[in-house]
């Protein structure tokens, strides 16, 4: 299954928000959090983000399943930084700050994709953010082919075994096999993509006529409120870090 398939209850108050509003809110937070290198701002933001999770119709457990690679990555980074640092006391604080920042920046993105239908996202990007339909709808169509590639990859591996090719323990042979299987996958993906593009043009995608939309995405007061809320949260996080004296600008 795709890591970007929605897993949330779509009727939850914040899950229903316009996808562009959700993206903008995540963007505002991310921007505010990269400004400073301190631990306070990210901690505040992360706490607020976690508190907002139920309003997106997400269960913490489902969110945990979705984010475990991220959590493992952050834990690994934390562990290696602390383990291999020369100046251990100093590094623990910065490593913690870094981990908090990573989580606080990544979590909104995870929430957006876990609560947003890809079709709605593409529609909203075209209608509310004036993204070119050729890009948004084209990407959406290509996205549909991604799960097929997983199955394709398994088949290619099996077909190679059937041909008597296995790399055994030789790492160089492994690498060569990986490269040649990737090439086969790429050839197949390009062929399929070309066919899809032809089929889309045959249905008038390249007609040049201004496109209409069957599904209307509205950007209402509640959507504005979501972005404003994110901005307020970002401001509060930054203010707190300045007031507590931890503020440490990225470019100083």
């Amino acid at each position: 299954m795709n890591r970007a398939t929605p897993i949330a209850d779509p009727t939850a108050p914040l899950a229903r928000r316009n996808p562009v509003a959700k993206l903008a809110a995540a963007g505002v937070l991310a921007l505010a959090l990269v400004i400073s290198l301190d631990p306070v701002g990210p901690a505040v933001a992360l706490a607020a983000e976690l508190a907002a999770v139920p309003f997106f119709g997400l269960r913490y457990r489902a969110l945990g399943r979705r984010t475990w690679p991220l959590l493992v990555g952050v834990a690994g980074m934390l562990f290696s930084l602390v383990l291999f640092a020369a100046d251990r006391e100093h590094i623990v604080a910065s490593a913690l700050a870094l981990a908090l920042r990573l989580l606080a920046v990544a979590l909104p993105g995870v929430i957006v994709f876990a609560t947003t239908d890809p079709t709605d996202l593409a529609d909203a990007l075209v209608q509310n953010a004036r993204v070119s339909p050729r890009f948004a709808i084209g990407t959406l169509a290509a996205w549909r082919l991604v799960p097929l590639m997983g199955e394709e990859w398994r088949l290619i591996g099996q077909a190679r075994r059937a041909r008597g090719i296995d790399p055994g323990r030789d790492p160089l042979a492994r690498l060569r096999l990986l490269a040649s299987a990737s090439f086969t996958l790429l050839v197949g993906a390009i062929r399929r993509g070309t066919r899809l593009a032809t089929a889309m043009d045959a249905r008038g995608f390249d007609s040049g006529v201004p496109r209409t939309t069957a599904r209307v995405q509205r950007f209402g007061a509640a959507d504005t409120a979501l972005v404003a809320g994110a901005a307020v949260l970002a401001a509060a996080a930054l203010t707190l870090s300045v007031l507590t004296g931890y503020f440490n600008p990225l470019f100083s």
Binding site: I137, L148, Q158, A162, R163, S180, T184, R192, A202, T212
Partner: protein, 468 residues
């Protein structure tokens, strides 16, 4: 409904010496249903692409004229709908209704009109689900019906069909043919190998000559009566011509492989069967029953979740105490050859001959196989550039290169023309009579009866298991 008019039409793809299609004069009247036939390489698909306005004149060389309702096809796009072979790569959206709406949005249809038109198009093709149905949850035949709805939704006068049933199992192909028979108000031009089932709903057959021009043109009965044998030799599935039969020369031989309570959850469980030398075994059953999965289990490419696949000493020698999926790949290839549904998955080198020497015990066998499968003239070509029939023959040859005793094939005759089909059946029959075991997953009843193969029928997936 639309009219089509071609005068001295020709097109040559960029960088090619040969014209893909040339010297075609053709008039197709309002509402005619026409099949375009001809051997592979005669330019059928190129002609359809030109009619669909998908061949810009700057992409290659152009001769003569092509007109739809008196206009250039690229300006007549809104008069034309086209459906291609592969359902996976022509559906654009996640949900069925959205996909049908795609063509309307592109043409600037007012949003208020879209739901009504989408509903009408879905109704026209007998789509049995609500518009919110996920396109990925549809069978191949249902996806192709949906593609038809997408091609018909703007009310085209001309419907083009490029092998619309070639990728489908027989029930799926039937779904598509039913729609084509029921769709009125359009001129239809179809390219299809398996023409026999369509003949009843055609007005006219046009046969393209590979060198250029048109070889035959007329009502189906007349064309088949006058040119049937020549067409069959070129690979066209001429209706009513008998197919070759290759019953086994002798009784089945020793046991090679045994499935004991074999299962791969959640697809199937509890399967018993034996695979013998000098016998052909056809694995049949509906889509989703696990036929391809069984082929990979028997081929030693997949570890079962339940039960086991046991090889006899006759097949595996010293390895008989271990299941095939644990054998080293080289040993596996020398005992069980697998042929995949998509030949391209199996190609690992850049030259046809290298594909065969890669697995072959001695180079003489590679040359022998090249000749036997009529690939000797293509020995230096890149496998990925071969035609569909050539790729199929090469994929069988690669599985034979290491001289395995058992051959496992997944839908070997899928989408093949009559000529390749006949060659494959003859080859597999000969291998069987030489003492090889042959296992083939197939939807093709004609293939099974031509080999006189024993049938192993897999049932439909049980709901309780499918839900898991």
């Amino acid at each position: 409904m639309s009219t089509v008019r071609l005068r001295g039409f020709g097109h040559r793809h960029p960088g090619r010496r040969r014209w893909a299609v040339r010297g075609v004069d053709l008039d197709i009247a309002h509402g005619e249903r026409v099949a375009l036939l001809g051997p592979s390489g005669a330019g059928k698909s190129t002609l359809l692409a030109a009619l669909a306005g998908l061949l810009p004149p700057e992409a290659g060389d152009r001769e003569g004229t092509v007109e739809i309702d008196g206009r250039d096809p690229r300006e007549a796009r809104d008069r034309v709908g086209i459906v291609f072979q592969d359902p996976q790569s022509q559906l654009v959206m996640e949900r069925a209704g959205d996909d049908v709406a795609f063509g309307l949005e592109n043409r600037g249809t007012p949003p208020d009109d879209i739901p009504r038109l989408v509903a009408a198009a879905l109704d026209r093709v007998g789509f049995p689900y609500p518009p919110l149905r996920a396109t990925s949850a549809l069978s191949g035949g249902e996806q192709q019906r949906l593609a038809l709805a997408g091609a018909l939704v703007h009310g085209p006068g001309l419907l083009l069909l490029d092998e619309p049933t070639a990728n489908l199992d027989p029930p799926g192909a039937r779904l598509v043919r039913e729609v084509l028979a029921a769709v009125g108000d359009t001129t239809q031009i179809v390219v299809e190998h398996r023409i026999a089932e369509l003949t009843g709903q055609l007005d006219r057959i046009v046969v393209l000559e590979p060198g250029g021009g048109i070889r035959a043109d007329g009502p189906p009965e007349k064309v088949f009566a006058e040119h049937g044998d020549a067409l069959a030799a070129d690979g066209v599935w001429v209706p009513g011509l008998p197919l070759p039969a290759h019953p086994a020369a002798g009784p089945p031989g020793e046991e090679l492989l045994r499935a004991e309570l074999l299962g791969f959850r959640p697809v199937f469980t509890g399967l018993h069967t034996t695979v013998r030398a000098a016998e052909a075994l056809a694995v049949v059953g509906p889509n989703g029953a696990g036929k391809s999965t069984l082929a990979r289990l028997l081929g030693g490419l997949l570890a079962p979740t339940d039960g086991r696949v046991a090889a006899t000493a006759a097949l595996a020698g010293p390895d008989a105490d271990r299941p095939p999926h644990r054998w080293r790949a080289r040993a596996l290839a020398a005992r069980i050859g697998s042929v995949f549904q998509n030949p391209a998955h199996q190609f690992v080198t850049a030259r046809v001959r290298d594909e065969l020497t890669l697995g072959a015990a001695d180079p003489a066998r590679a040359d022998d196989l090249l000749v036997r499968l009529r690939l000797d003239a293509l020995a230096g070509a890149n496998p990925h550039t071969l035609s569909g029939g050539e790729q199929r023959r090469l994929s069988v040859a690669t599985a034979l290169a290491a001289a395995p005793r058992l051959l496992v094939l997944d839908e070997p005759t899928f989408g093949q023309d009559r000529r390749t089909w006949s060659e494959l059946v003859a080859l597999l029959a000969a291998l069987r009579d030489e003492g090889h075991g042959v296992v083939a997953v197939t939807h093709d009843d004609a293939f099974r009866s031509a080999l006189g193969a024993r049938a192993l029928r897999l049932g439909a997936r049980e709901p309780a298991e499918a839900a898991r």
